[in-house]
Symmetry: C2
Subunit: 300 residues, 2 copies
């Protein structure tokens, strides 16, 4: 895993540099920019743009054309966290150890900062010229926008957040399918679009893209199952939050629905299936394989 650690650190630095440049286009004293910076630069893992980069590389291409959409996806991800934390939603005070956007600024500023991040993501993909040296041609950028809007809107993330808030009234037998459905929408579609956009940005072949989408479907779900497991048996010191909170809130989780042992087996089989999807790729897919393993072996 030493390789992966270096790989992740290098790309996190690269992405953080891009995101800083994006914000530095604007007057840094503007309150909206301060609020956007507060949440965007609060130490996220950058998993989504790293997946975009790794997918482009897996296809044997230079990753740089994938950076604009990778950064846009990270901005969409951050907006969703800001709105999710609002008093009218989850009402959280802390995120990654720092005050949530509405606690640091105000509810109004947090709503608008989220709106601005979402909107600016589309500026970035449609018009990356002033900030990025390399970016896809116009028809590819249009395709990326269509995919990003679908993954983050009614077809994906926003609907997933809605489903997650509604209480489940179905049978016990259907609970696992319902849980999979929530995660497929809430986090899965954005993981898929992260991987897919990386490959689309570098004009990969259609069969490569389809294999990568298969990979992304599996790791997206594995990530969520692993999260639920960590909430049961993780180390609160390393995790940065209390364990057992899902159970305390009577949240529908994989361990709650199918038990802890079956959840672990399920996560492992998903990762194996994800790696199978990459069988036709060469060594350039190494980081994607290591990321799949990392997802179920991480401690936070």
């Amino acid at each position: 895993m030493a390789d992966l650690k270096t790989y992740i650190k290098k790309n996190q630095d690269l992405i953080n540099g891009c995101l800083t440049r994006i914000l530095d286009e604007f007057d840094r004293d503007r309150i909206l920019i301060r609020a956007m910076r507060h949440s965007l630069m609060a130490g996220g893992k950058r998993l989504r743009p790293i997946l975009s980069i790794a997918a482009a590389q897996a296809c044997g291409k230079d990753f740089r054309p994938a950076l604009p959409v990778g950064c846009a996806i990270e901005m969409v991800h951050t907006y969703s966290l800001i709105h999710d934390d609002l008093p009218g939603m989850d009402n959280d005070d802390l995120r990654r150890g720092v005050p949530t956007c509405h606690r640091q600024f105000s509810e109004a500023v947090a709503i608008l900062a989220g709106d601005a991040l979402l909107t600016h993501a589309f500026t970035l993909v449609s018009d990356p010229g002033s900030l990025f040296d390399d970016y896809p041609d116009e028809p590819v950028r249009l395709k990326l926008i269509s995919k990003l809007a679908r993954a983050s809107g009614l077809h994906g993330m926003v609907e997933g957040q809605m489903l997650d808030m509604q209480s489940y009234s179905g049978s016990r037998d259907d609970a696992l399918d319902h849980l999979k459905q929530i995660h497929a929408k809430k986090t899965g579609e954005m993981i898929i679009v992260s991987v897919e956009s990386g490959a689309v940005s570098v004009s990969a072949q259609e069969d490569q893209i389809q294999s990568l989408v298969g990979y992304a479907e599996k790791i997206g779900l594995a990530f969520q199952v692993a999260d639920d497991i960590l909430n049961v048996e993780g180390d609160p010191k390393i995790l940065g939050k209390a364990v057992g909170s899902d159970r305390a809130h009577d949240k529908m989780t994989f361990p709650a629905v199918i038990g802890l042992d079956r959840s672990k087996k399920f996560a492992r089989s998903l990762v194996a299936e994800a790696k199978d999807c990459l069988s036709r790729f060469d060594a350039a897919a190494g980081p994607l394989i290591q990321i799949a393993d990392y997802i179920i072996n991480r401690d936070h």
Copy 2:
């Protein structure tokens, strides 16, 4: 004005038909769709998409390619109203005589419905194929997305909402410039992009587009000045809301800053300048001219 009334009614019906088709793509029982429909179909004037249509026609073209972006702009406008009404922002209970989205549903649903409307606007412009018979080519759609994202984000509307919420601490002499600046961002940029997108959608000539942008800058500001005047001396029965509320809330308005008479003169001169921008257009620009007059002669 009889002509204009017919023109507006016909195009409102057309736009409402398109917006209904857009929502009908989704299961109508979904709570997000119900919330979006509640706010989107609450009887808006449809001024923005009508401006897109009228601008396309002024350039001597069939207006139909302008419908996708016109509907997208109306969705962005509606999302901004939903978020503006939230308890953390203006905390309004009523909008156009019906409960605001968060009063009818919940705060969480209203936040997500706004997010979904904003996101879906970009789906609509990038990928209009399944819903519209006619739409612009790919490079034009990309240009429209770039313009819409700029007008509604950090360069325009979201920043305007932020400015509008901050209290003004400048001198009395600078107050008029500050007020113009708020409106230029908060509503002006979206009016400009409505007109400009109509012309861009039908591939109008660059000098036509520039004249139309000039027109839009003037009527956008005139619209806001007229709104402020109506809040002082409108008929509350026709207006559908109390008059004098701006003054009661000590809001910065044109009548408050430069007086009622000067505000009226200012609105009239803006409309005259707007019409001057159209001097090189033929009779096809008739609706745009009538809309400019209507903006300062309306009673609601």
